[in-house]
C-alpha cells in the first residue's frame, strides 16, 4: 500500500525489505553451492588400501584395466593401483580444503551430501552364521536371510543392522565384529542357558552368474573370520568347544 507520508520509524524496515530479496538470494546461492560441492563424486568409502585386496575390488580393477587396454592404455595391476591411490589421496586432500568452510553447515544443519549408493555390486558377498555349542556339538541358530534358523532375525535383519553386517564381513572391521560377537554371546547366554559358547562366521562365496543361478546351481564358498566366544566366561567347568574341530576354518564347502 503506497504511503504518501511514511513515518521516520518505518525507514529501516523498508530498507531491509528492499535488501531482503537480495540477501535471501545470496544465502540460497551459498546453500546451493554447499550442496553441489558436497555432492561432487569422491571415493570416501574406498580409502582403505587394505580393503582393495578383496576379490570384488580386484575384479573391478581388472575390468577397468581391460577397458583401458582396449583403447591402447596397457597398465599393470600394481601400477594401476598405485596411480589410483595417489590420485585419490590428492583428490581427497583438495576436497577437504574446499569443503572446510562448509563443515559446520553440513554438520549442524543436516546438509551433508553423501550419495555413494551401490557404487559396484559386491560379487563375493558373505552370509553371517551363528551357532551355539550345546551338548557337545554345534547347533546353527541363525543364518542370514534364511527363514529356517531365525534366532534374533528381526533384530539383525532390520535395515540399519544389515548395514553393520555388511561391514563386519570385511577384515577392516574386525574390532567391531568382535564387539558384536561379544554382544551375541551375552544374548545367547540368556536364550540358550545350556550353551557354553557361541560361534560366528561368514560364508563367503562368489555370486553365481545368471545362467547358473537360473539352473539352480548352489554356490560354493568357504567360512571365514570364525570367532568363538564363551557364553558364560566367568563360570568354571564350562564345556570348552572345539574351536575348529567341526570343520577346518576357511575350507571350501557347499552352500549351507
Amino acid at each position: 500500500m503506497p504511503d504518501a507520508h511514511p513515518p521516520r520509524a518505518a525507514a529501516p524496515p523498508r530498507a531491509f525489505a528492499r535488501a531482503w530479496p537480495h540477501l535471501r538470494a545470496l544465502l540460497i546461492s551459498l546453500h546451493v553451492l554447499a550442496v553441489i560441492l558436497g555432492a561432487l563424486p569422491a571415493p570416501s568409502g574406498g580409502m582403505k588400501r587394505g580393503a582393495w585386496r578383496d576379490p570384488t575390488v580386484q575384479d573391478e580393477f581388472a575390468a577397468w584395466r581391460g577397458r583401458l587396454a582396449a583403447v591402447g592404455l596397457d597398465v599393470d595391476a600394481q601400477t594401476f593401483e598405485d596411480e589410483l591411490w595417489a590420485f585419490a589421496t590428492r583428490f581427497m586432500a583438495a576436497r577437504a580444503v574446499v569443503l572446510k568452510p562448509f563443515g559446520p553447515y553440513y554438520r549442524h544443519f543436516g546438509t551433508l551430501q553423501t550419495w555413494r549408493m551401490f557404487v559396484a555390486p559386491h560379487r563375493y558377498p558373505a552370509r553371517l552364521h551363528i551357532d551355539i555349542y550345546e551338548n557337545g556339538h554345534w547347533v546353527n541358530v541363525y543364518e542370514e536371510q534364511n527363514p529356517g534358523p531365525d534366532w534374533k532375525q528381526g533384530l539383525l535383519e532390520q535395515d540399519r543392522f544389515r548395514s553393520a553386517l555388511f561391514r563386519y564381513s570385511w577384515a577392516s572391521y574386525e574390532r567391531s565384529y568382535r564387539q558384536f560377537a561379544a554382544w551375541i554371546a551375552k544374548a545367547a547366554a540368556v536364550d540358550y542357558p545350556e550353551a557354553s559358547a557361541v560361534r560366528l562366521r561368514w560364508f563367503k562365496y562368489k555370486t553365481l552368474p545368471p545362467a547358473q543361478a537360473a539352473a539352480g546351481v548352489e554356490p560354493t564358498g568357504s567360512f571365514i573370520m570364525t570367532h568363538v566366544v564363551p557364553t558364560h566366561p566367568d563360570e568354571t567347568g564350562a564345556v570348552t568347544p572345539p574351536a575348529t574341530a567341526a570343520e577346518p576354518a576357511d575350507a571350501p564347502v557347499e552352500a549351507p
Binding site: R24, A39, P41, A63, F109, G110, P125, R160, W183, T207
Partner: protein
C-alpha cells in the same frame, strides 16, 4: 525494485521471490513426517535401537560417543535414546498434521542427527537425505497449508486472511536436492557393470547380495536381460537427472517459441520422469530392504507437482466440497 533491474542476478532474485499456493509443500511435509515414523518406528518395533544406539555399558554392542544433545542428556543410555526416539515419533506426527511445523522440523532434525550420528556403522544414504529434507522444511513456511498451523492462523487472523501464498524457492530446493542426489549417485556408480559398454549386470548382482535383498532372488537369473535393461535405465536416469531442470523450465515457459521446448512439453517429459522415478523407488522397496530411503525420496516428488496441479487433483477427488482451503 529488483525485478526491473537487468541481468542474471536480478532474474535469479526474481525467481527466488516467486510465491505460490502451499499445497506442494504441504504434501511434502506430510511425506517427510511419515518417513520419520518409518525411520524411528522400525528400529523401535524390532528392538534394534537398543543394540545399535545404546552404549556397550548399558546393553549395546559398541562403545558410543554422542553429539552435544545426547551428551547433554546424559549419554547413550536406554532412557535417553528411548526418550529421543519417542520425541522423534511425536515430531513426525507434528509434521503430518502440521502443528508447529517449522519448529517441529528443526527439532526433528536435531533429534535425527543426535541419534543417527551415534553409530556410523548402522546407516545408509537416508541418514543424509532425511536431515536435508527436514532443514528445507525448517526454512520453508511448511505449515502454511493443510495443517493445524494454518487452521489456527485462519482462526486467529483479524481481519480474515487472503488466500495463503508461500515462497516457491523451498520447493525449488527440494527438487534440486532430489536431482543432486540422483546425479551424484549416478556419477559414483563407477563399477564396470554399471556403465554402458560393459555387461550391465550390476542390478542382477546387487539383487543377489544377502545384505540388501528382501528374499532369495536367484530367480532373477531367468530375467537377466530385463535386469540389464533396468541397469542401463537406472544409470541413465540418475546421471541425466539434472536435465529435468531444463524440462521444468520449458514447462514454465511453454508459451515461448522453440522446437525442443514444444517437443519436450508434447512428450510430457516431466510426467515421464515422475513415473519412472516412482517406479524405481517402488521397485527398490519391493525387492530390497534399504530402510526409509525410498519413502524419503518419494516425499520429494510432491514438489515436482505444481501447487495448482495439487489443487486440481484435490478438486477431482472431492468435487462437491468447493475450493481447496490452504
Amino acid at each position: 525494485m529488483s525485478a526491473q533491474a537487468p541481468g542474471a542476478w536480478a532474474r535469479w532474485v526474481g525467481l527466488l521471490s516467486a510465491r505460490e499456493a502451499p499445497h506442494s509443500l504441504a504434501a511434502f511435509r506430510v511425506g517427510v513426517g511419515l518417513c520419520l515414523w518409518h525411520a524411528f518406528g522400525s528400529p523401535l518395533i524390532t528392538g534394534t535401537w537398543s543394540l545399535i544406539w545404546v552404549d556397550v555399558d548399558h546393553g549395546g554392542y559398541r562403545p558410543l560417543g554422542g553429539g552435544w544433545l545426547v551428551s547433554a542428556l546424559g549419554g547413550p543410555t536406554p532412557a535417553v535414546i528411548g526418550g529421543l526416539l519417542g520425541l522423534g515419533l511425536l515430531l513426525g506426527l507434528n509434521l503430518v498434521v502440521g502443528f508447529a511445523s517449522r519448529l517441529s522440523a528443526f527439532a526433528a532434525l536435531q533429534v535425527f542427527l543426535a541419534i543417527t550420528n551415534l553409530n556410523g556403522h548402522t546407516g545408509g544414504s537416508y541418514d543424509a537425505l532425511i536431515p536435508n529434507l527436514l532443514w528445507l522444511l525448517t526454512l520453508a513456511d511448511s505449515g502454511a497449508g493443510a495443517s493445524v498451523d494454518a487452521w489456527l492462523r485462519a482462526r486467529w487472523a483479524s481481519p480474515p486472511t487472503t488466500p495463503v501464498r508461500v515462497s516457491a524457492w523451498p520447493r525449488y530446493l527440494v527438487i534440486g536436492q532430489l536431482l543432486t542426489m540422483y546425479c551424484s549417485s549416478g556419477l559414483q556408480k563407477v563399477g564396470a557393470s554399471w556403465i554402458p559398454g560393459g555387461d550391465l549386470s550390476a542390478l542382477y548382482y546387487i539383487l543377489q547380495q544377502p545384505t540388501w535383498q528382501r528374499f532369495d532372488m536367484r530367480w532373477a537369473g531367468h530375467i537377466f536381460p530385463l535386469t540389464q535393461l533396468a541397469t542401463l535405465a537406472t544409470w541413465l536416469f540418475e546421471v541425466g537427472a539434472p536435465a529435468l531442470i531444463l524440462v521444468l523450465w520449458w514447462r514454465r515457459t511453454r508459451a515461448r517459441p522453440g522446437r525442443l521446448r514444444a517437443l519436450a512439453n508434447r512428450l510430457r517429459l516431466r510426467d515421464a520422469f515422475v513415473l519412472f522415478g516412482l517406479g524405481l523407488h517402488i521397485g527398490i522397496m519391493s525387492l530390497m530392504e534399504v530402510g526409509p530411503f525410498s519413502t524419503a525420496s518419494m516425499a520429494c516428488y510432491a514438489c515436482l507437482l505444481h501447487p495448482e496441479e495439487w489443487a486440481a487433483l484435490l478438486r477431482r477427488l472431492r468435487p462437491s466440497r468447493g475450493p481447496i482451503p490452504a
